[in-house]
Protein backbone atom coordinates (compact mmCIF):
# COMPACT_ATOMS: atom_id res chain seq x y z
CA UNK A 1 0.00 0.00 0.00
CA UNK A 2 1.03 3.53 -0.63
CA UNK A 3 1.02 5.33 2.65
CA UNK A 4 -0.18 8.87 3.04
CA UNK A 5 1.32 11.03 5.75
CA UNK A 6 -0.88 12.11 8.62
CA UNK A 7 -0.88 15.71 7.45
CA UNK A 8 -1.79 14.52 3.97
CA UNK A 9 -4.69 12.51 5.35
CA UNK A 10 -5.93 15.50 7.33
CA UNK A 11 -5.76 17.60 4.20
CA UNK A 12 -7.75 15.00 2.32
CA UNK A 13 -10.47 14.94 4.95
CA UNK A 14 -10.59 18.70 4.96
CA UNK A 15 -11.03 18.73 1.18
CA UNK A 16 -13.70 16.05 1.37
CA UNK A 17 -15.51 18.05 4.00
CA UNK A 18 -15.41 21.06 1.70
CA UNK A 19 -17.01 19.03 -1.06
CA UNK A 20 -19.68 17.67 1.25
CA UNK A 21 -20.60 21.15 2.39
CA UNK A 22 -20.69 22.46 -1.18
CA UNK A 23 -22.94 19.60 -2.30
CA UNK A 24 -25.30 19.71 0.65
CA UNK A 25 -25.76 23.31 1.73
CA UNK A 26 -28.16 24.54 -0.98
CA UNK A 27 -30.50 21.65 -0.30
CA UNK A 28 -30.37 22.19 3.45
CA UNK A 29 -31.15 25.84 2.85
CA UNK A 30 -34.13 24.87 0.70
CA UNK A 31 -35.50 22.71 3.51
CA UNK A 32 -34.81 25.39 6.07
CA UNK A 33 -36.63 28.02 3.99
CA UNK A 34 -39.57 25.71 3.39
CA UNK A 35 -40.28 25.47 7.13
CA UNK A 36 -39.79 29.12 8.02
CA UNK A 37 -42.72 31.39 8.83
CA UNK A 38 -43.13 34.50 6.68
CA UNK A 39 -41.93 36.71 9.51
CA UNK A 40 -38.55 35.01 9.64
CA UNK A 41 -38.20 35.09 5.87
CA UNK A 42 -38.62 38.84 6.00
CA UNK A 43 -35.97 39.32 8.65
CA UNK A 44 -32.56 40.50 7.59
CA UNK A 45 -30.72 37.87 9.58
CA UNK A 46 -31.91 34.48 8.41
CA UNK A 47 -30.87 31.46 10.44
CA UNK A 48 -30.10 27.91 9.38
CA UNK A 49 -32.61 26.38 11.72
CA UNK A 50 -36.06 27.98 11.71
CA UNK A 51 -36.75 29.49 15.13
CA UNK A 52 -40.43 28.83 14.70
CA UNK A 53 -40.88 25.95 12.25
CA UNK A 54 -44.23 25.85 10.47
CA UNK A 55 -46.13 23.99 7.81
CA UNK A 56 -47.94 27.12 6.69
CA UNK A 57 -45.80 27.40 3.57
CA UNK A 58 -46.92 24.01 2.36
CA UNK A 59 -50.57 24.89 2.87
CA UNK A 60 -50.11 28.20 1.10
CA UNK A 61 -48.28 26.53 -1.78
CA UNK A 62 -51.22 24.21 -2.39
CA UNK A 63 -53.60 27.16 -2.23
CA UNK A 64 -51.64 29.31 -4.65
CA UNK A 65 -50.98 26.86 -7.45
CA UNK A 66 -52.70 23.68 -8.62
CA UNK A 67 -49.88 21.52 -7.32
CA UNK A 68 -51.85 18.30 -7.00
CA UNK A 69 -53.14 18.57 -10.52
CA UNK A 70 -49.65 19.36 -11.77
CA UNK A 71 -48.23 16.39 -9.88
CA UNK A 72 -50.93 14.23 -11.45
CA UNK A 73 -49.98 15.52 -14.90
CA UNK A 74 -46.31 14.89 -14.21
CA UNK A 75 -47.05 11.42 -12.96
CA UNK A 76 -49.15 10.59 -15.99
CA UNK A 77 -46.58 11.94 -18.44
CA UNK A 78 -43.61 10.33 -16.72
CA UNK A 79 -45.23 6.95 -16.13
CA UNK A 80 -46.70 6.84 -19.62
CA UNK A 81 -43.38 7.77 -21.19
CA UNK A 82 -41.42 5.28 -19.08
CA UNK A 83 -43.73 2.37 -19.84
CA UNK A 84 -44.00 3.01 -23.57
CA UNK A 85 -40.29 3.67 -23.75
CA UNK A 86 -39.20 0.34 -22.29
CA UNK A 87 -41.99 -1.47 -24.14
CA UNK A 88 -40.68 -0.39 -27.52
CA UNK A 89 -37.01 -0.14 -26.59
CA UNK A 90 -36.59 -3.64 -25.20
CA UNK A 91 -37.26 -5.50 -28.48
CA UNK A 92 -35.06 -3.10 -30.42
CA UNK A 93 -32.30 -3.29 -27.83
CA UNK A 94 -32.48 -7.05 -28.13
CA UNK A 95 -31.96 -6.86 -31.87
CA UNK A 96 -29.14 -4.33 -31.45
CA UNK A 97 -27.39 -6.63 -29.01
CA UNK A 98 -27.85 -9.84 -30.96
CA UNK A 99 -27.56 -8.78 -34.58
CA UNK A 100 -24.92 -6.79 -36.31
CA UNK A 101 -26.19 -5.22 -39.48
CA UNK A 102 -26.12 -1.82 -41.06
CA UNK A 103 -29.38 -0.93 -39.39
CA UNK A 104 -28.21 -1.78 -35.89
CA UNK A 105 -24.94 0.05 -36.52
CA UNK A 106 -26.91 3.10 -37.60
CA UNK A 107 -29.11 2.78 -34.52
CA UNK A 108 -26.07 2.60 -32.27
CA UNK A 109 -24.64 5.63 -34.05
CA UNK A 110 -27.89 7.49 -33.47
CA UNK A 111 -27.76 6.59 -29.79
CA UNK A 112 -24.29 8.13 -29.53
CA UNK A 113 -25.10 11.21 -31.59
CA UNK A 114 -28.29 11.87 -29.68
CA UNK A 115 -26.19 12.36 -26.55
CA UNK A 116 -25.17 15.51 -28.32
CA UNK A 117 -28.60 16.29 -29.65
CA UNK A 118 -29.12 19.97 -30.31
CA UNK A 119 -32.59 20.18 -28.93
CA UNK A 120 -33.03 23.82 -29.91
CA UNK A 121 -32.92 22.54 -33.43
CA UNK A 122 -35.51 19.86 -32.76
CA UNK A 123 -38.05 21.72 -30.67
CA UNK A 124 -39.31 24.06 -33.39
CA UNK A 125 -40.07 21.35 -35.96
CA UNK A 126 -41.41 19.12 -33.21
CA UNK A 127 -43.75 21.91 -32.19
CA UNK A 128 -44.94 22.31 -35.79
CA UNK A 129 -45.40 18.58 -36.28
CA UNK A 130 -47.32 18.18 -33.05
CA UNK A 131 -49.42 21.23 -33.89
CA UNK A 132 -50.41 19.62 -37.17
CA UNK A 133 -51.31 16.47 -35.28
CA UNK A 134 -53.36 18.64 -32.87
CA UNK A 135 -51.24 17.44 -29.98
CA UNK A 136 -50.06 20.76 -28.64
CA UNK A 137 -51.19 21.38 -25.08
CA UNK A 138 -51.93 17.71 -24.57
CA UNK A 139 -50.17 15.26 -22.32
CA UNK A 140 -50.20 12.60 -25.03
CA UNK A 141 -48.07 14.83 -27.26
CA UNK A 142 -45.66 15.38 -24.39
CA UNK A 143 -45.53 11.64 -23.69
CA UNK A 144 -44.58 11.01 -27.32
CA UNK A 145 -41.75 13.51 -27.09
CA UNK A 146 -40.52 12.05 -23.81
CA UNK A 147 -40.58 8.53 -25.22
CA UNK A 148 -38.30 9.50 -28.07
CA UNK A 149 -36.25 11.63 -25.74
CA UNK A 150 -35.47 8.75 -23.36
CA UNK A 151 -35.08 6.15 -26.09
CA UNK A 152 -31.35 6.52 -26.75
CA UNK A 153 -30.40 6.00 -23.17
CA UNK A 154 -32.92 3.19 -22.73
CA UNK A 155 -31.61 1.43 -25.83
CA UNK A 156 -28.03 1.73 -24.67
CA UNK A 157 -28.79 0.50 -21.19
CA UNK A 158 -31.05 -2.35 -22.30
CA UNK A 159 -28.67 -3.53 -25.02
CA UNK A 160 -26.07 -3.85 -22.29
CA UNK A 161 -28.41 -6.00 -20.22
CA UNK A 162 -29.28 -8.18 -23.20
CA UNK A 163 -25.61 -8.82 -23.94
CA UNK A 164 -25.23 -10.02 -20.38
CA UNK A 165 -27.80 -12.75 -21.02
CA UNK A 166 -25.97 -15.80 -22.41
CA UNK A 167 -27.02 -16.56 -25.96
CA UNK A 168 -26.80 -20.28 -25.25
CA UNK A 169 -29.99 -20.06 -23.20
CA UNK A 170 -31.88 -18.91 -26.26
CA UNK A 171 -30.34 -21.60 -28.42
CA UNK A 172 -31.35 -24.20 -25.86
CA UNK A 173 -34.90 -22.84 -25.90
CA UNK A 174 -34.93 -22.98 -29.68
CA UNK A 175 -33.74 -26.59 -29.61
CA UNK A 176 -36.59 -27.36 -27.25
CA UNK A 177 -38.94 -26.03 -29.90
CA UNK A 178 -39.76 -22.58 -28.51
CA UNK A 179 -40.52 -20.00 -31.18
CA UNK A 180 -38.90 -16.60 -31.17
CA UNK A 181 -41.67 -14.79 -29.35
CA UNK A 182 -41.90 -17.61 -26.85
CA UNK A 183 -38.13 -17.50 -26.26
CA UNK A 184 -38.20 -13.76 -25.75
CA UNK A 185 -41.14 -13.79 -23.40
CA UNK A 186 -40.31 -16.77 -21.23
CA UNK A 187 -36.52 -16.97 -21.36
CA UNK A 188 -35.05 -13.53 -22.05
CA UNK A 189 -37.64 -11.24 -20.47
CA UNK A 190 -37.47 -12.70 -16.93
CA UNK A 191 -33.70 -12.38 -16.92
CA UNK A 192 -33.96 -8.80 -18.15
CA UNK A 193 -36.65 -7.79 -15.66
CA UNK A 194 -34.38 -5.97 -13.17
CA UNK A 195 -32.67 -4.13 -16.01
CA UNK A 196 -35.98 -3.19 -17.56
CA UNK A 197 -37.21 -1.91 -14.21
CA UNK A 198 -34.11 0.23 -13.68
CA UNK A 199 -34.37 1.62 -17.21
CA UNK A 200 -38.05 2.42 -16.75
CA UNK A 201 -37.36 4.20 -13.47
CA UNK A 202 -34.61 6.23 -15.05
CA UNK A 203 -36.88 7.21 -17.93
CA UNK A 204 -39.48 8.11 -15.32
CA UNK A 205 -37.15 10.51 -13.50
CA UNK A 206 -35.94 12.05 -16.74
CA UNK A 207 -39.52 12.82 -17.73
CA UNK A 208 -40.58 13.88 -14.22
CA UNK A 209 -37.76 16.43 -14.11
CA UNK A 210 -38.03 17.64 -17.70
CA UNK A 211 -38.84 21.29 -18.22
CA UNK A 212 -38.06 22.63 -21.67
CA UNK A 213 -40.42 20.53 -23.78
CA UNK A 214 -43.16 20.86 -21.20
CA UNK A 215 -42.75 24.63 -21.22
CA UNK A 216 -43.04 24.84 -24.98
CA UNK A 217 -45.75 22.24 -25.54
CA UNK A 218 -48.15 22.82 -22.64
CA UNK A 219 -50.02 26.11 -22.69
CA UNK A 220 -52.82 26.03 -20.14
CA UNK A 221 -52.19 25.70 -16.38
CA UNK A 222 -54.45 22.69 -15.97
CA UNK A 223 -52.31 20.72 -18.42
CA UNK A 224 -48.90 21.78 -17.14
CA UNK A 225 -46.47 19.53 -15.33
CA UNK A 226 -44.88 20.19 -11.98
CA UNK A 227 -41.66 21.91 -13.10
CA UNK A 228 -43.61 24.37 -15.26
CA UNK A 229 -46.09 25.11 -12.48
CA UNK A 230 -43.21 25.67 -10.06
CA UNK A 231 -41.95 28.52 -12.22
CA UNK A 232 -45.31 30.26 -11.74
CA UNK A 233 -44.31 30.85 -8.13
CA UNK A 234 -41.53 33.07 -9.38
CA UNK A 235 -43.99 35.62 -10.69
CA UNK A 236 -43.14 38.64 -12.76
CA UNK A 237 -39.66 40.08 -12.51
CA UNK A 238 -38.58 37.45 -10.04
CA UNK A 239 -40.61 38.72 -7.12
CA UNK A 240 -41.26 35.50 -5.30
CA UNK A 241 -43.03 34.38 -2.20
CA UNK A 242 -40.07 32.46 -0.85
CA UNK A 243 -41.76 30.19 1.68
CA UNK A 244 -44.36 28.54 -0.55
CA UNK A 245 -41.83 28.45 -3.38
CA UNK A 246 -39.37 26.50 -1.25
CA UNK A 247 -42.09 24.22 0.08
CA UNK A 248 -43.37 23.34 -3.38
CA UNK A 249 -39.87 22.85 -4.77
CA UNK A 250 -39.01 20.57 -1.87
CA UNK A 251 -42.10 18.43 -2.45
CA UNK A 252 -41.50 18.22 -6.19
CA UNK A 253 -38.00 16.87 -5.58
CA UNK A 254 -38.92 14.06 -3.21
CA UNK A 255 -40.13 11.56 -5.84
CA UNK A 256 -36.97 12.01 -7.92
CA UNK A 257 -34.72 11.61 -4.90
CA UNK A 258 -36.48 8.46 -3.73
CA UNK A 259 -36.56 6.79 -7.14
CA UNK A 260 -33.00 7.79 -7.86
CA UNK A 261 -31.78 6.45 -4.54
CA UNK A 262 -33.37 3.13 -5.49
CA UNK A 263 -31.56 2.82 -8.80
CA UNK A 264 -28.38 4.77 -8.11
CA UNK A 265 -26.17 1.74 -7.92
CA UNK A 266 -27.35 0.47 -11.24
CA UNK A 267 -26.93 3.82 -12.90
CA UNK A 268 -23.48 4.50 -11.49
CA UNK A 269 -22.47 0.92 -12.29
CA UNK A 270 -23.72 1.50 -15.81
CA UNK A 271 -21.93 4.80 -16.10
CA UNK A 272 -18.80 3.11 -14.88
CA UNK A 273 -19.03 0.41 -17.50
CA UNK A 274 -19.93 2.87 -20.23
CA UNK A 275 -17.28 5.38 -19.29
CA UNK A 276 -14.53 2.80 -19.14
CA UNK A 277 -15.53 1.60 -22.56
CA UNK A 278 -15.45 5.12 -23.93
Amino acid sequence: MIRTSRAGRAGQYLALLGYLVFLAFPFLWLISTAFKPARELGSLHPTWIPRDPTLANFRQAFDEQPLLQAAGNSLAAAAGAALICVAIATPMAYVMARHRTRLTTAATGWVVVSQAFPFVLVIIPLFLVLRNLRMINSLSGLVLVYVVWSLPFALWMLAGYVRAVPGELEEAAAVDGAGRVRTLLSVVAPLLAPGIAATALFAFITAWNEFFFALVLLKTPEKQTLPVVLTHFLGAEGVADLGPLAAAAFLATLPSLVVFALIQRRITGGMAAGAVKA
Binding site: Y94, Q115, V120, V129, I205, P227, S256, F260, A273, A275
Partner: protein, 325 residues
Protein backbone atom coordinates in the same frame (compact mmCIF):
# COMPACT_ATOMS: atom_id res chain seq x y z
CA UNK B 1 -31.47 14.52 -19.25
CA UNK B 2 -31.14 16.13 -18.53
CA UNK B 3 -29.91 16.45 -17.57
CA UNK B 4 -30.94 14.54 -17.32
CA UNK B 5 -32.12 14.06 -15.97
CA UNK B 6 -29.67 12.14 -18.13
CA UNK B 7 -31.27 13.83 -17.97
CA UNK B 8 -30.94 13.91 -18.05
CA UNK B 9 -30.63 14.25 -18.69
CA UNK B 10 -31.78 15.26 -17.32
CA UNK B 11 -32.23 15.69 -17.60
CA UNK B 12 -32.75 15.61 -18.43
CA UNK B 13 -29.47 14.17 -18.43
CA UNK B 14 -28.76 10.94 -20.32
CA UNK B 15 -26.25 8.56 -18.79
CA UNK B 16 -24.54 5.36 -19.66
CA UNK B 17 -25.74 1.78 -19.46
CA UNK B 18 -24.75 -1.03 -17.18
CA UNK B 19 -23.70 -4.41 -18.30
CA UNK B 20 -21.22 -3.28 -20.94
CA UNK B 21 -18.20 -4.59 -19.11
CA UNK B 22 -19.82 -7.89 -18.34
CA UNK B 23 -21.05 -8.17 -21.87
CA UNK B 24 -17.63 -7.87 -23.40
CA UNK B 25 -16.26 -10.63 -21.29
CA UNK B 26 -18.98 -12.87 -22.57
CA UNK B 27 -17.68 -12.37 -26.06
CA UNK B 28 -20.98 -11.12 -27.42
CA UNK B 29 -20.03 -7.50 -27.78
CA UNK B 30 -17.87 -5.77 -30.29
CA UNK B 31 -15.40 -8.61 -30.56
CA UNK B 32 -18.11 -11.23 -30.77
CA UNK B 33 -19.13 -13.19 -33.81
CA UNK B 34 -20.95 -11.23 -36.49
CA UNK B 35 -24.70 -11.40 -35.89
CA UNK B 36 -27.31 -12.92 -38.10
CA UNK B 37 -28.85 -10.69 -40.76
CA UNK B 38 -32.20 -9.14 -39.96
CA UNK B 39 -35.11 -11.40 -40.82
CA UNK B 40 -38.81 -10.56 -40.77
CA UNK B 41 -39.08 -11.37 -37.09
CA UNK B 42 -36.28 -8.99 -36.24
CA UNK B 43 -37.91 -6.19 -38.23
CA UNK B 44 -41.05 -6.79 -36.24
CA UNK B 45 -39.01 -6.21 -33.10
CA UNK B 46 -37.27 -3.10 -34.38
CA UNK B 47 -40.17 -1.20 -35.92
CA UNK B 48 -42.02 -0.11 -32.75
CA UNK B 49 -38.97 1.89 -31.71
CA UNK B 50 -37.73 2.78 -35.18
CA UNK B 51 -40.91 4.51 -36.36
CA UNK B 52 -41.08 7.00 -33.46
CA UNK B 53 -37.37 7.66 -33.82
CA UNK B 54 -37.77 8.46 -37.51
CA UNK B 55 -40.90 10.58 -37.04
CA UNK B 56 -40.00 12.46 -33.87
CA UNK B 57 -36.23 12.59 -33.89
CA UNK B 58 -34.60 12.19 -37.29
CA UNK B 59 -37.50 13.83 -39.11
CA UNK B 60 -37.61 16.98 -36.98
CA UNK B 61 -33.85 17.32 -37.25
CA UNK B 62 -34.02 17.39 -41.05
CA UNK B 63 -37.14 19.57 -40.95
CA UNK B 64 -35.38 21.93 -38.54
CA UNK B 65 -32.44 22.41 -40.84
CA UNK B 66 -34.74 23.07 -43.78
CA UNK B 67 -36.80 25.57 -41.76
CA UNK B 68 -33.69 27.69 -41.42
CA UNK B 69 -33.97 28.47 -45.12
CA UNK B 70 -37.59 29.62 -44.93
CA UNK B 71 -39.48 32.60 -43.55
CA UNK B 72 -41.65 30.40 -41.35
CA UNK B 73 -43.49 32.34 -38.64
CA UNK B 74 -46.08 31.58 -36.03
CA UNK B 75 -49.71 32.37 -36.79
CA UNK B 76 -49.24 33.51 -40.36
CA UNK B 77 -51.83 32.79 -43.00
CA UNK B 78 -49.85 33.05 -46.24
CA UNK B 79 -47.71 30.03 -47.06
CA UNK B 80 -44.13 29.77 -45.92
CA UNK B 81 -41.56 30.53 -48.60
CA UNK B 82 -38.01 29.53 -49.32
CA UNK B 83 -35.77 32.49 -48.80
CA UNK B 84 -32.40 30.88 -49.28
CA UNK B 85 -29.66 32.02 -46.96
CA UNK B 86 -31.40 35.29 -46.03
CA UNK B 87 -31.83 34.22 -42.39
CA UNK B 88 -28.15 33.51 -42.14
CA UNK B 89 -27.24 36.84 -43.71
CA UNK B 90 -29.47 38.60 -41.17
CA UNK B 91 -27.94 36.54 -38.42
CA UNK B 92 -24.43 37.60 -39.37
CA UNK B 93 -25.51 41.24 -38.72
CA UNK B 94 -27.39 40.46 -35.52
CA UNK B 95 -25.11 41.70 -32.77
CA UNK B 96 -27.58 40.64 -30.08
CA UNK B 97 -27.26 37.07 -31.25
CA UNK B 98 -23.47 37.15 -31.31
CA UNK B 99 -23.42 38.70 -27.85
CA UNK B 100 -25.62 35.87 -26.70
CA UNK B 101 -23.39 33.39 -28.49
CA UNK B 102 -20.36 34.76 -26.69
CA UNK B 103 -22.15 34.49 -23.36
CA UNK B 104 -23.03 30.93 -24.25
CA UNK B 105 -19.38 30.11 -24.85
CA UNK B 106 -18.28 31.74 -21.60
CA UNK B 107 -21.00 29.79 -19.81
CA UNK B 108 -20.16 26.45 -21.43
CA UNK B 109 -16.40 26.74 -20.93
CA UNK B 110 -16.80 28.42 -17.54
CA UNK B 111 -18.90 25.53 -16.33
CA UNK B 112 -17.16 22.62 -18.03
CA UNK B 113 -13.58 23.41 -17.01
CA UNK B 114 -14.03 24.06 -13.25
CA UNK B 115 -16.55 21.26 -13.13
CA UNK B 116 -13.93 18.92 -14.47
CA UNK B 117 -11.25 20.15 -12.10
CA UNK B 118 -13.51 19.91 -9.06
CA UNK B 119 -14.86 16.53 -10.10
CA UNK B 120 -11.35 15.19 -10.61
CA UNK B 121 -10.42 16.34 -7.12
CA UNK B 122 -13.47 14.70 -5.62
CA UNK B 123 -12.96 11.51 -7.62
CA UNK B 124 -9.35 11.29 -6.44
CA UNK B 125 -10.51 11.72 -2.85
CA UNK B 126 -13.21 9.11 -3.22
CA UNK B 127 -10.71 6.74 -4.76
CA UNK B 128 -8.75 6.88 -1.48
CA UNK B 129 -9.99 4.72 1.32
CA UNK B 130 -11.46 7.60 3.27
CA UNK B 131 -14.31 7.42 5.70
CA UNK B 132 -17.49 9.35 4.90
CA UNK B 133 -17.37 8.13 1.34
CA UNK B 134 -20.90 6.83 1.72
CA UNK B 135 -21.99 10.33 2.67
CA UNK B 136 -20.48 11.82 -0.45
CA UNK B 137 -22.23 9.16 -2.46
CA UNK B 138 -25.55 9.92 -0.82
CA UNK B 139 -25.16 13.67 -1.21
CA UNK B 140 -24.21 13.32 -4.85
CA UNK B 141 -27.75 12.12 -5.49
CA UNK B 142 -29.13 15.56 -4.73
CA UNK B 143 -27.80 17.57 -7.66
CA UNK B 144 -28.06 14.59 -9.92
CA UNK B 145 -31.67 13.57 -9.37
CA UNK B 146 -33.16 16.96 -8.74
CA UNK B 147 -35.32 18.63 -11.39
CA UNK B 148 -33.32 21.44 -12.96
CA UNK B 149 -36.12 23.86 -12.14
CA UNK B 150 -35.78 23.02 -8.46
CA UNK B 151 -32.01 23.46 -8.65
CA UNK B 152 -32.63 26.92 -10.02
CA UNK B 153 -35.21 27.76 -7.34
CA UNK B 154 -32.95 26.43 -4.61
CA UNK B 155 -30.03 28.59 -5.64
CA UNK B 156 -32.27 31.61 -5.95
CA UNK B 157 -32.99 31.11 -2.28
CA UNK B 158 -29.27 30.88 -1.59
CA UNK B 159 -28.52 34.02 -3.60
CA UNK B 160 -31.49 35.97 -2.29
CA UNK B 161 -30.14 39.37 -1.22
CA UNK B 162 -32.01 39.54 2.11
CA UNK B 163 -33.21 36.08 3.10
CA UNK B 164 -30.38 34.21 1.34
CA UNK B 165 -27.71 32.32 3.18
CA UNK B 166 -24.86 33.58 1.03
CA UNK B 167 -25.19 37.22 1.98
CA UNK B 168 -25.90 36.28 5.60
CA UNK B 169 -22.69 34.25 5.72
CA UNK B 170 -20.75 37.12 4.17
CA UNK B 171 -22.20 39.49 6.76
CA UNK B 172 -21.28 37.09 9.54
CA UNK B 173 -17.75 36.84 8.28
CA UNK B 174 -17.55 40.61 8.09
CA UNK B 175 -17.06 40.57 4.34
CA UNK B 176 -19.41 43.43 3.70
CA UNK B 177 -23.12 43.71 3.16
CA UNK B 178 -23.31 41.26 0.29
CA UNK B 179 -25.15 42.07 -2.89
CA UNK B 180 -27.94 41.07 -5.19
CA UNK B 181 -26.00 38.43 -7.04
CA UNK B 182 -28.43 37.47 -9.76
CA UNK B 183 -29.38 40.97 -10.81
CA UNK B 184 -25.96 42.58 -10.65
CA UNK B 185 -24.53 43.17 -14.12
CA UNK B 186 -21.12 41.90 -13.10
CA UNK B 187 -22.13 39.05 -10.82
CA UNK B 188 -25.06 37.45 -12.65
CA UNK B 189 -23.06 35.33 -15.09
CA UNK B 190 -20.50 34.08 -12.53
CA UNK B 191 -23.37 33.31 -10.15
CA UNK B 192 -25.22 31.15 -12.65
CA UNK B 193 -21.95 29.46 -13.66
CA UNK B 194 -21.46 28.33 -10.06
CA UNK B 195 -24.90 26.75 -10.15
CA UNK B 196 -24.04 25.02 -13.43
CA UNK B 197 -20.89 23.60 -11.88
CA UNK B 198 -22.79 22.37 -8.86
CA UNK B 199 -25.48 20.70 -10.92
CA UNK B 200 -23.12 18.68 -13.09
CA UNK B 201 -20.56 17.74 -10.46
CA UNK B 202 -21.90 14.27 -9.55
CA UNK B 203 -22.14 12.94 -13.11
CA UNK B 204 -18.62 14.05 -13.90
CA UNK B 205 -17.25 12.68 -10.64
CA UNK B 206 -18.82 9.28 -11.13
CA UNK B 207 -17.45 9.00 -14.66
CA UNK B 208 -13.96 9.99 -13.53
CA UNK B 209 -14.11 7.71 -10.51
CA UNK B 210 -14.94 4.81 -12.79
CA UNK B 211 -11.88 5.67 -14.84
CA UNK B 212 -9.71 5.89 -11.72
CA UNK B 213 -10.87 2.55 -10.42
CA UNK B 214 -9.88 1.08 -13.71
CA UNK B 215 -6.23 2.17 -13.45
CA UNK B 216 -3.85 -0.67 -12.66
CA UNK B 217 -3.03 -0.56 -8.97
CA UNK B 218 0.27 -2.43 -9.36
CA UNK B 219 1.63 0.35 -11.58
CA UNK B 220 0.95 2.83 -8.80
CA UNK B 221 2.81 0.78 -6.26
CA UNK B 222 5.69 0.13 -8.62
CA UNK B 223 5.99 3.85 -9.28
CA UNK B 224 5.88 4.53 -5.55
CA UNK B 225 8.63 1.99 -4.95
CA UNK B 226 10.73 3.76 -7.55
CA UNK B 227 10.36 6.89 -5.47
CA UNK B 228 7.80 8.76 -7.54
CA UNK B 229 5.86 11.31 -5.50
CA UNK B 230 2.09 11.72 -5.69
CA UNK B 231 2.22 14.32 -8.46
CA UNK B 232 4.65 12.23 -10.50
CA UNK B 233 2.48 9.14 -10.06
CA UNK B 234 -0.58 11.09 -11.09
CA UNK B 235 1.13 12.36 -14.25
CA UNK B 236 2.68 9.10 -15.33
CA UNK B 237 0.22 6.47 -14.15
CA UNK B 238 -3.20 7.92 -13.40
CA UNK B 239 -3.57 10.54 -16.09
CA UNK B 240 -2.75 8.32 -19.07
CA UNK B 241 -5.16 5.72 -17.75
CA UNK B 242 -8.10 8.09 -17.34
CA UNK B 243 -7.46 10.17 -20.47
CA UNK B 244 -10.17 8.51 -22.56
CA UNK B 245 -12.73 9.06 -19.82
CA UNK B 246 -11.60 12.66 -19.40
CA UNK B 247 -12.04 13.31 -23.10
CA UNK B 248 -15.46 11.70 -23.22
CA UNK B 249 -16.87 13.38 -20.14
CA UNK B 250 -15.55 16.86 -20.86
CA UNK B 251 -16.87 16.70 -24.41
CA UNK B 252 -20.26 15.48 -23.19
CA UNK B 253 -20.38 18.06 -20.42
CA UNK B 254 -19.62 20.78 -22.91
CA UNK B 255 -22.50 19.67 -25.10
CA UNK B 256 -24.88 19.33 -22.18
CA UNK B 257 -23.93 22.76 -20.94
CA UNK B 258 -24.45 24.33 -24.34
CA UNK B 259 -27.89 22.73 -24.39
CA UNK B 260 -28.67 23.89 -20.89
CA UNK B 261 -31.85 25.88 -20.58
CA UNK B 262 -33.93 25.38 -17.46
CA UNK B 263 -31.27 26.42 -14.94
CA UNK B 264 -30.65 29.87 -16.32
CA UNK B 265 -34.28 30.33 -17.33
CA UNK B 266 -35.28 29.91 -13.69
CA UNK B 267 -32.33 31.74 -12.15
CA UNK B 268 -32.30 34.93 -14.18
CA UNK B 269 -34.52 34.48 -17.22
CA UNK B 270 -31.59 35.77 -19.26
CA UNK B 271 -31.23 39.05 -17.38
CA UNK B 272 -29.98 41.44 -16.19
CA UNK B 273 -29.86 43.27 -19.50
CA UNK B 274 -29.22 40.04 -21.37
CA UNK B 275 -26.03 39.32 -19.40
CA UNK B 276 -27.00 35.68 -18.96
CA UNK B 277 -29.03 35.24 -22.12
CA UNK B 278 -27.64 31.96 -23.36
CA UNK B 279 -28.18 31.17 -27.04
CA UNK B 280 -30.74 28.54 -26.03
CA UNK B 281 -32.80 31.18 -24.28
CA UNK B 282 -32.34 33.54 -27.19
CA UNK B 283 -33.55 30.98 -29.71
CA UNK B 284 -36.43 30.04 -27.44
CA UNK B 285 -37.60 33.64 -27.18
CA UNK B 286 -37.18 34.23 -30.88
CA UNK B 287 -39.25 31.15 -31.69
CA UNK B 288 -41.91 31.02 -29.01
CA UNK B 289 -42.23 34.60 -27.88
CA UNK B 290 -41.79 36.41 -31.21
CA UNK B 291 -42.84 33.47 -33.39
CA UNK B 292 -39.88 33.73 -35.76
CA UNK B 293 -39.53 30.02 -36.43
CA UNK B 294 -37.33 30.28 -39.52
CA UNK B 295 -34.93 32.74 -37.93
CA UNK B 296 -34.70 30.74 -34.70
CA UNK B 297 -34.03 27.58 -36.68
CA UNK B 298 -31.19 29.35 -38.49
CA UNK B 299 -29.80 30.37 -35.10
CA UNK B 300 -29.92 26.79 -33.90
CA UNK B 301 -28.17 25.61 -37.05
CA UNK B 302 -25.36 28.09 -36.56
CA UNK B 303 -25.00 27.07 -32.92
CA UNK B 304 -24.89 23.41 -33.75
CA UNK B 305 -22.40 23.95 -36.56
CA UNK B 306 -20.01 26.08 -34.50
CA UNK B 307 -20.21 23.75 -31.50
CA UNK B 308 -19.59 20.69 -33.68
CA UNK B 309 -16.51 22.26 -35.23
CA UNK B 310 -15.16 23.27 -31.81
CA UNK B 311 -15.72 19.82 -30.43
CA UNK B 312 -14.10 18.17 -33.41
CA UNK B 313 -11.05 20.43 -33.03
CA UNK B 314 -10.90 19.69 -29.30
CA UNK B 315 -11.12 15.94 -29.73
CA UNK B 316 -8.66 15.80 -32.63
CA UNK B 317 -6.23 18.09 -30.81
CA UNK B 318 -6.42 16.04 -27.63
CA UNK B 319 -5.99 12.74 -29.41
CA UNK B 320 -2.92 14.05 -31.23
CA UNK B 321 -1.53 15.46 -27.98
CA UNK B 322 -1.73 11.94 -26.61
CA UNK B 323 0.52 10.56 -29.31
CA UNK B 324 3.28 13.02 -28.64
CA UNK B 325 3.54 12.25 -24.98
Amino acid sequence: MTSTTVAPPSGNQPERPPGEGRARRRGRGRGGPPGKPLDHGAWFLVLPALIPILILSVGPLVYGVSLAFTDSQAGRTEPTQWIGALNFRDLAQDTLFWDSFGIGLVWAVGVTVPQFALALGLALLLDQKLRLRWLARALAIIPWAMPEVVVGIMWRLVYNPDAGILNETLRDLGLGEGRDWLTGLATALPAVIVVGIWAGLPTTTVALLAGLQNTPHELHEAAALDGAGPWRRFRTVTWPAIRPVVLAITALNFIWNVNSFALVYVLTGGGPGGRTRLPMLFAYEEAFRYGQFGYAAAMSCVMVAVISVMLALYLVGRLKGGDER
